[in-house]
Structure formats: structure tokens, C-alpha cells
Symmetry: C2
Subunit: 303 residues, 2 copies
Amino acid sequence: MSEMLEQMSEYVHDLQDRITTTIGELDGVSFKEDSWERPGGGGGRSRVLQDGNVFEKAGVGVSVVHGQLSPEAAIEMGGGQEIKDLSFKAVGLSLVMHPRNPMAPTVHCNYRYFERGDGSEPGSWWFGGGADLTPSYLFEEDAEHFHKVHKEACDKHGEDLYPRFKKWCDEYFYLGHRQEARGIGGIFFDNFNERSPEECFAFAKDCGDTFLPAYVPVMERRKDMEFTEEEHLWQQIRRGRYVEFNLVWDRGTKFGLRTNGRTESILMSLPVTARWEYCHEVEEGSREAQMLDVLKHPREWVK
Amino acid sequence: MSEMLEQMSEYVHDLQDRITTTIGELDGVSFKEDSWERPGGGGGRSRVLQDGNVFEKAGVGVSVVHGQLSPEAAIEMGGGQEIKDLSFKAVGLSLVMHPRNPMAPTVHCNYRYFERGDGSEPGSWWFGGGADLTPSYLFEEDAEHFHKVHKEACDKHGEDLYPRFKKWCDEYFYLGHRQEARGIGGIFFDNFNERSPEECFAFAKDCGDTFLPAYVPVMERRKDMEFTEEEHLWQQIRRGRYVEFNLVWDRGTKFGLRTNGRTESILMSLPVTARWEYCHEVEEGSREAQMLDVLKHPREWVK
């Protein structure tokens, strides 16, 4: 393993510890851990909290894997068209949390480091990641807070980063067949190697460290709110959209399923339950319509 | 429209009428219809029964569409690599029915005729389709019946057809990332143009006419069976697998979403509700384990 792979591995394992401890305390139910090995090389440590008090399902996984890319996958992953050495190594943390309460947003975050070959060629290593929020009901203060703390983390590394990665997030987490965003966004970046490895790593760490301060205050405000059966049904329909995004559009999911990743860890991101109603419609002027409007017209949440 | 497009259009509209009448009577709740136009050209007639007595959701759609293929889509769809005229016309019927009772199987069937250009070049027209059954619990007599009547329809056109198309069905409706089949199969064929257009059409019609006699007797045996809450949960998990197949593997779904198909009609195939549990396991020797065993080891159902 290269030095950077080791450093990133240490970082994401520590971040997983911090996140599962804090979220486990918030819920009152602890995460259960299982470790797994990937037949093609490497393995991971998945921690899942299912059927909690606050969370229907919350999964936080780290993985350190290596293997061989198919030529098509190598080209699709970028970093130049002429690739001789198809070996790759990747280390990352990935999490998705689906709260019970329809007023509380689902959250996703993922930080990863990727190396092709020995990572010494220009463009053969990069960082990627980000975090984004998917509410069923819009609370502007939650969206503002989530974006604000991520902007602060980005700004430490240059004021150009947040606007670029906020926009990229809106574009990436987009359901083309629905013409709507998955949620209210956050940040997303990929193939990030425009600075030295150490500077890129420092940036990824600052973003990763932002997860808990970005999400926990939101959950504390929402987890015990009252809700109706209709609001629960709307949440279930939004869960269906979440499934659609992950299975139809998400590159990480497709890459995982295509490279013989561990299915249960990849699909840990899916909600426990989801719902599809034919031609479901929302009432004009309702809170559901307000949510859809924001998904169709992404906003700037920080001035 | 070519003569064959017109004939096939007439056939699938009539088949839709027959199916929705019979299934509506079986359920006690009628299908609701809506017609739609496709921005790229053509349109369809969708009929959906939601929240019925017997069916959680049943959708039967016909569509007659035309448009332009992307060069990649044209190549992927077969029929030769050198394609100058990218226009296409397609007519088809597609249905999925998800019963409430976990003892009653989900069914899918689809018959379609496709023409590239004016359909006069060899390999530029074909029929495709099939029908397959997806139970949550195995009843051997249901599987045997479903296969037997489809074999009879095929045999009228040559005894080689059923074995080929039964095998193709097992291979097509397969979840690579789960290493299991979607259900207990049926028949599946594509790019079928090895005989004259009239003979191919006659074959597709005989298969289409087999849907009701294949499925209705099974439903009559299963729709009112008693079941437990655990059996309902297992059905929900199997529904999750159905969603995974349709969104990750099904070529028809991908083609539809990629060619600006009508999303609500394409995703009409999804169940109302589905469930994902992390690392769900079944008890050895249970009926759930027996079902999984058949999905992992497809059987011959007709001698």
C-alpha cells in the first residue's frame, strides 16, 4: 500500500468510529459490525443500525479494496484514455442514514481515495466524495445549516471550491427520468487531484470531519416532531425515488455491482421500505408541492 | 405505419382489452385508463388497477412509438453494426401484476414488434417478448402449469422453441449481483425474425393469448390463501429484489428511460411497496430457503 492509501485508511476508520459512536448515542441503539473480504482483493468493515429509535436504517461502511479494472471501467473512471496497468486500489467511507420521522432528512456521505497502478503517473490517483441531504419535507434552516458548514470546510482550502462542488452535487444527484434532484444537495467532487496529494487529503479530511456537525443538529430538531399518516406515505414515496436514483443513476453503486463488490454493503444505502404509486400527484400549494418545487429548481442556500 | 405495425397494434390493443376485463373481474376493482403522448413521437394507453382486492398493483400498457435511436442504442439493440437510418418504430404490450397475497405470484409479460428504418432491410425488424412468473413461495403445480401452457403455445410453431426460450428466460431474468433468478421463469425471446414476418407474428400472438390461461388458474388457487405476518415480510423482501432487477438489469426499462419514454408507464412495473433488510437470512429448511434454492438452481418444469 502507498503511504496515502494507508493514511486515508486510518482516517476513514477513525471517522467511522466517531460517526457510529455519536449516531448510536443519538439513537439509543448501537451499530452492529461485520467485516467482510472481497473475493477480488481487500475487504471492509460495515456497521449497520437497523430498526433503531430514530433511524429506520443507518449504514456506515469503510472498505479498502484492490483489483483489476475492465478496460471500459478504466476509461469511464477518467484520468486519461491510454491505460496499460489496469490494477486499482481504493479506500473509502460511505454512509447513508434513513430516519423514521418524515420530518427528518436522509443523509448520504462518501469520501474515497483511488489509485490506478502504483499511483505515480499524473492523473492516476484522486480523491472524491461529498455529502448531501435528502428531506421529504423542506426546512430551510436545515438546508442552510448543512450547506453553511460544508462551505466553511471548503473555504479553508479556497473560495472557489464550495461553488464548484455545490453545483456538481446538484448535477450529480439528479434523476433524469424524473427531472428532479434527489434532495437539496450539499457538495460533491470527483477526480480531485489538482493540488498535491497532501493538500487534497487535507481537504477531504476537513469535509469528512464536517459530517457530524452538519447532520446532528438537524436531526436533533427533527427526530421527535409529530407527523401524520399522510406525511409518512409521502416519505415512503420519496424513499422510492431514493431507490431509483441509487439503482439507476449512481455511479458508485454501478461500479460496485460491476466490480463484484459486496452486494449487501453496496445496497446498505437502500431504505428499509419504499413505495411506488402510479401517477402520484401532490396538492397545489401543499408542503409536498413546496418540496418538489425545490427539487426541480435547486437553490443557493448560503449567501 | 407498415402493415405489420398496424396488425401488431390491433392485436395488442385487443389483448389489453381481454386481459384487463378478465383481471378486473377477478379482482372486483376495475382498471383505470390514461392515454399519453410521447414527446419524441407516438404514445400509449396505460391501464392500472391499484389498491384492488386481489392486486396491490396491476398495470397493462400498450404503446406505439417512433423516434430516433442513438447510435449506441442502435448497436446495442442488435441487427447489424452498420446502421445508417436510426429511425425506429415499436409497438408492444407490457404488463406486471403484483398480488396482495404472498402465496400468489407476481407475473410479467411483454410482447413487442420493432422496426428500424422502414423495416425492409434484413435484420431490421423483429418480434420479442415472453412471460415469467415470480412467486415469493414455491408451488410446484403453479410453475408446472405456467410452463406447460407456454410450451404448448411454442410447440405449435416447432418443438425447438420452448427449450430455447425457456433457457433464455432463465438467463435474462437473472440478478447477477445476487446470483439468483428473479423468479421461476417462463419464456423469453428477442430479435425473433428467423421466419417470415407472418409466421413470427403468429407465434407472438399464440404466446400472448397464453397469458390468461397461464396466470388466472394460478391466481384462483392462491388469492385467498391464509398467510402470516412473517410471510408478508418475506414477500416485501422479494418485492425489493424485483425492484433491483427492473432498475439495474432490465434492458426494456433502461431503453425506456434512455429514449425519453414515459416514466410513469415504464415504472408501472414496480410494486407499491418493497423492503430491504441488511443481510437478511432465511432459516435452513424453511419454505423461504426452498424458494431461494429454486432461484439459484433453475429447474425444468415440463418433461
